[in-house]
Amino acid sequence: MKIQKTVAEINEKIKKGEAVVLTAEEVSQMAETASPAEIAKKVDVVTTATFGAMCSSGAFINFGHADPPIRMEEIKLNNVPAYGGLAAVDTYIGATAESETDPTYGGAHVIEDLLKGRDVVLEARAKGTDCYPRKTIQTTININNINEFYLYNPRNAYQNYPAATNSTSKILYTYMGNLLPKFGNITYSTAGELSPLLNDPELRTIGIGTRIFLCGAEGYVTWNGTQFNRSKPRNVYGIPLGNAATIAVTGDLKQMSAEFLKAAYFEKYGISIFIGLGIPIPVLDEDLAKRVSIKNCEIDTVICDYGQPDHPVLARVHYAQLQSGHVLLNGKKVRTAPMASLYKARQIADILKNKIETGRFLLTEPVQLFPENTTTKPLNMREEAS
């Protein structure tokens, strides 16, 4: 008889402490000897995770009103510009925003400093209105004296990503790390078989409303991420080659842990933020059992040359090769290195597994599934209107 489970049934098992939960790596190992039917029968939930640099991240903050009040139009936090185009004392600070005085400090550091309980200098200016007469303000804020403080990341957890190398004779400083000259190294950035969107490549269980682990707290998938592309070519295992689907996520920073959110500076590139994200996947049927059993050797990606303007594809490899420490490129053994922490991703998958096993994390069904057949348009340069 075919196995068919519902999220509600799995949640009942979780509440009773009876759910069988494995990490995505554990289930891939189990699949060496068990069939998808057996896995669907035995396993209820598979936890996936990633911990990598995700530039398209940031936080909303509400500062509370001063007396007399100000309608903030230009806002700086520790000298990092924050968005002044919202209501009087709301802002959005983007992770990649750079300090006006220190290029190695930015929005990500402001978020991390606040998360760690540190004071941050707030400076704001306004033109002054009848209802908001104050024109300038300078004070310090911290996590305890601000109102809402939540992450809203428009694009996280890329479903696969190309690996990077460099054909030029100069070292390239990129968001994919320092790429040494003449194909001196290859860097890659996903957690492979542990990565969330690679374990449910058709996005059957991940959609709007999915409850997730976000930087130590419970967070939610709020929309499809930006540059959401469902039209990438796929390999025989249904894995998209290169950057495909993404998710927008949100979560309460006041509940998060600095262990799973780290501000970063990439040399001569700028600021980014490492985000720890985990997603539980309910094993509803054989199809999902097969999907979560995906192994590193079945997940392909492409190697792109960051030395050329359009980053041409040079080769195709799988994650078992990338994780082995070297791959053959043009007949030459080239060193490979990760840019995302598999160590941290494994920690997250284990924490999530434990929470579910002990009934402290229930699964959700998506309120709405993501759009299908989407593509990503380039920005075409139009001829200037006269």
Binding site: T187, S272, A337, K344
Partner: protein, 135 residues
């Protein structure tokens, strides 16, 4: 005794085979770590010398006679391990394989293998590598 030195060769250095003599005359085990030598320019050689203290003393005298400055360096890469998130970005540039990932995907720093090329200093997104100097 194993120690690192920077030898600075003046632009008009004679044809004296310096490193050969260090090995043959003073019985020093030499490991050349970094070399910057261009014709007509001052050159530098970062090397590790392994020998009895007396031999090193004699070798330094020999270098001095040949107008080659010999400065002992103790330059070390310091890794702030506690703050490391084990992303592995530093391993991309570490060609001496001092920085590697273990089976648990945690970073290991084998200081014995470090040649102080300093590429990890720029490669670490959390800036956890520092250069410490001492004589």
């Amino acid at each position: 005794m194993k120690k690192r030195y920077v030898l600075t060769f003046p632009s008009d250095t004679t044809n004296e085979p310096i490193t050969y003599n260090l090995v043959k005359q003073f019985d020093i085990k030499i490991n050349i770590i970094k070399a910057k030598i261009n014709a007509g320019e001052e050159g530098t050689l970062l090397l590790e010398m392994d020998a009895a203290q007396e031999n090193i003393r004699k070798a330094r005298k020999y270098l001095e006679e040949n107008h080659i400055a010999c400065q002992s360096v103790e330059k070390k890469v310091h890794w702030k391990e506690d703050e490391c998130m084990h992303c592995g970005a530093c391993t991309a540039v570490c060609f001496s394989q001092a920085l590697t990932m273990d089976a648990n995907r945690q970073l290991i720093f084998n200081t014995e293998k470090c040649i102080v090329c300093e590429l990890c200093v720029k490669a670490c997104p959390l800036k956890l590598f520092e250069i410490h100097f001492s004589e």
